[in-house]
Symmetry: C2
Subunit: 308 residues, 2 copies
């Protein structure tokens, strides 16, 4: 059995327009790298962090907290060192904290001989995710662990469904370089929604699940709408309406806020369309004073993976 493993922990898009708090999908284009090492010294130690300024203290680090949750559950005779090569900017809205939370427990599970299921890994990772977002949710964690599209049916008890991914589906992401904390993005949401809007939302989510099963891109287009969260959160993202309009005109199947933002995602059929949408988004955002990054990604159907 290996003593050290290097993994790629992918970025993810949560909510996916009509699936607030439950739906997510996995990206290929961005992800953290992490090295997990078995040690004779007991406990969890974060020994190296690169890319972004994150705490080394285990209890204050998302990857550390999820690692501890698993560690305290299984009580192994060894300990673990964690190196984090952070590539996903914290607060970008594409599952930065989820990638950290998932990476440590996935790596440890491999080094321990896979005692845990994917669902159990998600459970431990939720403990780390809660440190970042102040609530235990799994809509970014599940796609990072399972790959493709996932639906978190419930978190207590944890119940995750893996949905099919149409073969030609691509995502385009634009990331305006402003920071929105998940907790702040939650604070703008109302506690109550109109029954009428809720009905529209669940009709759309049901339709989206059907569309994924049927490879029905036209239905994906009709279903990728968010009338619950977007009206509130889009105000936190400058020029959201402009860039969405540009993306839809360029052929996006749908365009919505990724997770709690500020990243904005689109889905499209085929790589050419995804690239054309990227250009349209760049053209729309360039005249603003806000720095941004874009990337195009195939839907990552494998999820987190071993690099070496």
């Amino acid at each position: 059995m290996k003593n050290e493993i290097k993994i790629f922990s992918p970025a993810t898009v949560a909510n996916v327009a009509c699936g607030f708090d439950v739906l997510g999908f996995c990206l290929d284009s961005q992800g953290d790298e992490m090295v997990i090492r078995k040690t004779t010294k007991k406990g969890i130690e974060i020994t190296h962090i690169e890319g972004y300024d994150l705490p080394y203290e285990t209890e204050a680090n998302v990857a550390g907290v999820s690692a501890l949750a698993m560690y305290n559950h299984i009580k192994p005779k060894c300990g673990f060192e964690i190196e984090i090569y952070k590539k996903i900017k914290p607060g970008s809205g594409i599952g930065s904290s989820a990638a950290s939370a998932v990476g440590s427990v996935f790596g440890m599970n491999e080094l321990l001989g896979q005692p845990f299921t994917k669902q159990q890994l998600t459970y431990f990772a939720m403990k780390g995710e809660a440190l970042a977002s102040k609530s235990e949710h799994a809509d970014n964690l599940a796609p990072a662990i399972y790959g493709g599209f996932t639906l978190v049916k419930s978190t207590a008890p944890l119940d995750i469904l893996q949905l099919p991914t149409p073969q030609h589906l691509y995502a385009t992401i634009i990331h305006p370089q402003i920071e929105i904390k998940t907790a702040a993005a939650r604070a703008v949401l109302p506690n109550e929604v109109s029954l009428k809007d809720a009905i529209t939302q669940w009709a759309n989510l049901g339709s989206l699940v059907h569309a994924l099963h049927c490879n029905d891109y036209k239905l994906l287009h009709r279903a990728l709408q968010d009338n619950i969260v977007e009206p509130y959160r889009k105000n936190l993202i400058p020029y959201f309406d402009n860039v969405k309009y540009a993306a839809m005109c360029a052929g996006a199947l749908g365009c919505a806020i990724s997770g709690s933002g500020p990243s904005i995602f689109t889905l499209s059929k085929g790589l050419d369309a995804a690239k054309a949408i990227e250009q349209a988004m760049i053209k729309s955002y360039k005249p603003t004073q806000i720095k941004f990054e874009t990337h195009v990604s195939k839907i990552n159907t494998k999820g987190i993976k071993i690099l070496s």
Copy 2:
């Protein structure tokens, strides 16, 4: 081309626990019979009604109103007579008005050489349904026309999805002989729901659609929950909690109010289970002072059909 057609217009279950206003499925066990006859005299005339006391005046009769909607659209050179052999009790909650609304337009479409699609038939039938329920909805109409499970993604524009039906799925229905008008059942509902409850509901509906695609009966069981409407409407149905408890103990995958009630439906895997649930429901309801009927039905995957 025929000048007269006899059809079976099936009963249906709308809402299906987690799909309020959008989901429905079609029954085999109950349905109206209707005769539609082409006449040289122009217009729509209801010439015979049996079973229940319904208005003969075309504009006051659900089947008449939907027939008129189609008639005024296509403006044929002929007219139509409608005979209604009403078997589904009005106000029972298993799509009595929908069966009437659908029957006339389906029969006329056949006699005219099928100029209309199923979606167009649903559109015309909505005009009749609106007479009964004071609002244009299609959650009972769509399963009667398409068969199996249907999801009404939206009514304006009308967008209906046909979902797959697991082969061994059966429904058991108990119909307490009290009347609840759809409009009254709508009046008890709140205008707003908590975002938390709404999230649970769309997670369940997404899961249900996935379960239908995957023949996953265990997931059907976990998804068949209604935390939006049932808490309000169950108070309109005496002993609802008791009979639900009995059904679930007898092995039902789920048990909830059918449409706006008072009928209560369950779903189960296999005919034996459906019959055992029926017995449990009878045993639970017999001690009450309320008359009731029960029936067991395979899911009707064909929908409305021609008898002769």
